[in-house]
């Protein structure tokens, strides 16, 4: 496989969630979320009611991927920050450590400068956290069955049941 799959345990999830909540509060954001580069939503904080976060996550990843493609064509390594300005809401998107995307949605209660500053600080913390997670995933991969995967004992019947 090209990439190792992302596996996140409770304790890491709690730490990341707390960091995101901190950013959300300090940046005075409306909605803050983390997406894996392949479009899977990792976690979100804020006003998620009425917002389709799954689709938002997938489109964000598509957006980052397309921008990354443009960067390559221009000889840039990447464009690590994207900003979309709307009439009411704005989106600040930043790439963290090549694997994860941090998205902050904010309105007139905040400002681009504040969001940029706070997002940068959070990025630095999250980079380290995700590095640790990926090191751990690699380690666990080396030691077979170190942590029991929910899929280890799956049967064909389990899969059949999914489709009713």
């Amino acid at each position: 496989m090209a990439d190792s799959g992302l596996v996140m345990h409770e304790e890491e999830f709690t730490l990341i969630d707390a960091e995101l909540a901190k950013l959300h509060q300090q940046a005075n954001a409306k909605l803050t979320f983390l997406v894996d580069k392949n479009g899977q939503l990792i976690t979100s904080v804020g006003e998620t009611k009425g917002v389709d976060t799954t689709s938002l996550a997938s489109l964000t990843a598509g957006n980052i991927a397309a921008t990354g493609g443009m960067a390559k064509l221009l000889g840039e390594k990447e464009f690590s920050i994207l900003f979309h300005e709307g009439e009411k809401d704005n989106i600040h998107i930043s790439l963290i450590g090549q694997r994860v995307i941090l998205v902050v949605i904010f309105d007139q209660r905040s400002s681009l400068g504040l969001v940029r500053l706070r997002a940068k600080k959070t990025s630095d913390v999250l980079v380290k956290m995700f590095e640790d997670i990926f090191v751990k995933i690699e380690k666990e991969r080396g030691v077979k069955h170190a942590v029991k995967s929910p899929f280890a004992e799956i049967t064909e019947e389990d899969i059949e049941k999914l489709f009713g």
């Binding site: 496989m1 090209a2 990439d3 190792s4 799959g5 992302l6 596996v7 996140m8 345990h9 409770e10 999830f13 709690t14 894996d36 580069k37 392949n38 479009g39 899977q40 990792i42 389709d52 799954t54 689709s55 997938s58 489109l59 598509g62 991927a65 397309a66 990354g68 493609g69 069955h145 995967s149 929910p150 899929f151 280890a152 004992e153 799956i154 064909e156 389990d158 899969i159 049941k161 999914l162 489709f163 009713g164």
Partner: protein, 195 residues
């Protein structure tokens, strides 16, 4: 690339529908969308041109149910089939867990099928996957049309790795869920292998 979240007890996997332009990739997703219980699906997103040709991708999140207490979610994507959108296709293949190749059964589309399959194999390799082992299903679509190529012949031209095949008429839904079921099964069994 699957994402296993122990905190939310969720597993997310990515399946990509690949194939030449107008072969029915979006139609497959539309049928799945139409026939799935509203509680199990999210919104379907189509990034298409004004003439409804896929420009970047279609996206449909599906929750199938639970396995051993973990919610299983599949994110279905299609690629734009037209030759000149190759850069976009490469991006969408990133982190894929399983591929459905949709072939157009009409005689005049065989060349496009072969070209698209070669393109899929090349792009998978570029993304670091082995095109001979990644979970994959081949669907021969539009079997209701009069000018179709026999399955054996299509198989010879498109399915050297002998992936499971399904004959389909995506417009009416024939073979659509069988295809999805088989690729999902392969993806989950692959996760089991890695466990």
């Amino acid at each position: 690339m699957s994402f296993i979240n122990y905190s939310a007890r969720e597993i997310n996997c990515k399946i990509v529908y690949y194939g030449p332009g107008l072969c029915g990739k979006t139609t497959n997703l539309l049928y799945i969308y139409k026939k799935t219980n509203p509680d199990s699906k999210g919104k379907m997103i189509s990034l298409a041109t004004e003439t409804e040709r896929t420009l970047f991708f279609d996206f449909l999140p599906l929750s199938l149910g639970s396995i051993r207490g973990f919610k299983v979610r599949f994110h279905l994507y299609t690629v734009p089939g037209q030759v000149f959108y190759d850069a976009s296709r490469k991006l969408i293949l990133r982190g894929v867990d399983g591929v459905v190749f949709v072939g157009d059964s009409q005689v005049e589309r065989m060349e496009a099928n072969v070209e698209s399959m070669e393109n899929l194999r090349k792009n998978l390799q570029e993304q670091g996957f082995n095109p001979d082992t990644i979970p994959c299903v081949v669907q021969y679509n539009k079997r209701d049309l009069p000018n179709v190529v026999p399955v054996a012949e299509m198989d010879k031209a498109l399915n050297a790795r002998k992936a499971p095949i399904f004959e389909a008429v995506a417009m009416s839904g024939t073979g659509v869920f069988d295809t999805l079921k088989e690729v999902s099964k392969q993806v989950i069994l692959e996760l089991k292998k890695q466990a």
